[in-house]
């Protein structure tokens, strides 16, 4: 699943059109989704972002292959072009700093970003937004750092009063391709496919119920060893389980020896 977070409805609109996202009422937040993507509109500011992301991720807990992207507009110093897409490698929030891991190649401009409490009318040293830090903090409880990205589009040079809803829609619309590319790059970062199929996992779990906890971990380890060494199908795990403790231990010993030979 791809989790997209925007602060504003206007930021979400072009994405909903492009990805054909449909409104979903499962949460008390503006939520859109299709088979692969879920988008939440958090509302502006720290508290809104923190609550919306926590609610979203608590509602649908991310899996290992999932990613999260915060996309939206930001104010920036004048050396950043209006309309330029920025990929954030450092979020500065007071004396705290957060670092999403960028482990893929890309052609976007990378930069640090300051997360602030109110729209800024004074030029800062870095681009500014109001949600990146709480989104990072909430999401990093669920995602590894390389599964998150912060894509910001420069909307103004710290003149927030000049930013219009139509302008925001246009800025986001002009960068759906940047988002698309980012999604595929982020998704392609090395992921470990599960070692065992669901059926295999179930068989293992049933088999383990006949043994103690530490014997169970030894079975897991030996099967993992066997699979990682690409030895193919593992031996059947449904022999007659002896009643005596001693015989069970012997059975286990033999199985581990076979798997790790």
């Amino acid at each position: 699943m791809i989790y997209l977070i925007t602060a504003l409805d206007a930021e979400a609109r072009p994405l909903c059109e492009y990805y054909r996202l449909k409104r979903d009422t499962s949460l008390p937040y503006t939520l859109y989704r299709n088979e692969e993507i879920v988008l939440v509109v958090s509302g502006m500011g720290r508290t809104n972002a923190l609550m919306a992301v926590s609610a979203l991720l608590g509602w649908r807990i991310p899996e290992e292959k999932d990613i999260l992207i915060n996309i939206g507009i930001c104010g920036a110093p004048s050396e950043y072009r209006i309309g330029e897409a920025l990929l954030i490698h450092q979020i500065l929030d007071g004396d705290r700093r957060y670092y999403p891991d960028i482990l893929y190649s890309h052609s976007l401009r990378e930069t640090s970003m300051r997360c602030v409490d109110v729209p800024q009318s004074v030029l800062s040293d870095y681009p500014v937004d109001m949600e990146s830090s709480p989104i990072f903090q909430a999401a990093s409880r669920f995602f590894k750092l390389h599964q998150m990205a912060f894509l910001k589009i420069v909307s103004d040079h710290c003149t927030p009063e000049l930013v219009t809803k139509e302008g925001v829609i246009e800025l986001l619309r002009s960068h759906v391709n940047s988002l698309d590319t980012l999604i595929s790059r982020l998704s392609a970062v090395q992921k470990q496919p599960p070692l065992f199929s669901t059926d295999e996992r179930n068989t293992i779990e049933v088999f383990k119920t006949h043994f103690t906890k530490s014997q169970g971990s030894a079975i897991d380890d030996a099967l993992t060893y066997f699979r990682l060494r690409n030895k193919g199908e593992f031996p059947p795990l449904n022999p007659l389980i002896p009643n005596s403790k001693r015989e069970r231990s012997q059975l286990l010993e033999e199985l581990i020896a076979t798997l790790t030979a």
């Binding site: 590894k144 090395q190 470990q192 380890d221 993992t224 060893y225 990682l228 060494r229 790790t260």
Partner: protein, 317 residues
């Protein structure tokens, strides 16, 4: 930022993204990093070390009976990516931290140099692998030149010994190459030079007059262990004159239980999941397998070298 080494390295990476940080731990010690994912895109963190560079040698390694044995740690992390490496269990990150203030390591070492002291400069990393970037090995060699009691061991899998060519020979410095069968390199020692390249570097270092030690350590036990490792010893001594090396070190895989636990969590390699025997917090092969490994290798190695020049690591029972 102003340290000459920082500037030199930044010049080499003129096109790279630079992120200013306050302390290396801000990035290196972050929670929720993925060692496995980062291994494919390692970042370099330049920092100034505040504490000591020197640590006493551990029970997992051989101190060669010097009066004092330290290892110096000016780099955290390694360019190479070996599946059996305990760094994966030690560090939360696959990135590399390079401490640029190596001169402080020399200052910290100076008071000890009244006695014979061995310093392993490449103990929990491979310094030679990034020598062209850091020049730290050259700096160690220059420093060692001035102190008669200082012995260095530079352990490596690198094939790049360019930096040694311009340095005056020092008989108190040992270059130690870790060698493995090519099949083991392919399976477990990612991003490292091939056996052939390593052997080429060994030959070159010997020709230049450096003292060389060879390490077949850690030996990874697989069903083909005996064939792979006896062939390795044959290949090594077909290429290298046994008389030209100081020692051959043999040792089977071993790791602290806590590092092994972290390695398992990464689920990267079968090495972590072998049914080791854990005693006194140390995971090793069973005594029978360990003995089998050593006997097999010793039998082969003694065809080329007298036993006195073969060092072995085995758990003290």
């Amino acid at each position: 930022m102003d340290h000459p080494q920082t500037q030199m390295i930044r010049r080499k990476f003129a096109d790279s993204q630079v992120i200013l940080i306050d302390h290396y731990k801000e990035v290196f010690n972050r929670p929720a990093q993925s060692f496995a994912a980062q291994s494919h895109s390692k970042k370099l963190i330049l920092a100034r070390k505040e504490g000591t560079f020197l640590h006493e040698g551990s029970q997992y390694s051989d101190g060669f009976d010097y009066q004092q044995f330290f290892y110096a740690s000016s780099i955290m992390g390694c360019l190479y990516d070996c599946d059996y490496c305990y760094l994966q269990g030690l560090y939360p990150s696959a990135n590399t931290v390079l401490f640029v203030n190596i001169e402080d390591a020399f200052e910290q070492l100076r008071p000890y140099l009244g006695k014979d002291t061995l310093v392993a400069t490449s103990y929990d990393t491979d310094t030679l692998a990034i020598e062209s970037l850091t020049h730290q090995t050259s700096m160690w060699l220059d420093f060692a030149d001035q102190y008669e009691n200082l012995y260095l061991e530079i352990r490596t899998k690198s094939a790049n010994i360019k930096s040694l060519k311009s340095i005056t020979l020092n008989p108190r410095v040992t270059l130690a190459w870790t060698l493995s069968p090519q099949e083991i390199i392919n399976a477990y020692e990612h991003a490292t030079p091939s056996l052939e390249k390593r052997l080429g570097a060994v030959v070159e270092a010997i020709t230049l007059g450096w003292k060389v030690r060879l390490c077949i350590d850690p030996v990874i036990y697989t069903e083909k262990f005996a064939i792979l490792y006896t062939e390795l010893i044959e290949q090594v001594f077909r290429t290298i004159d046994p008389e030209a090396i100081e020692h051959l070190t043999l040792g089977s895989f071993r790791m602290s239980q806590s590092h092994l636990r972290s390695l398992k969590k990464l689920r990267r390699s079968d090495v972590a999941f072998y049914p080791y025997v854990v005693r006194d917090e140390m995971a090793t092969y069973s005594e029978a397998i360990e003995t089998h490994i050593l006997e097999t290798l010793l039998a082969k190695a003694t065809q080329y070298l007298p036993k006195e020049r073969i060092r072995t690591w085995q758990r003290q029972s």
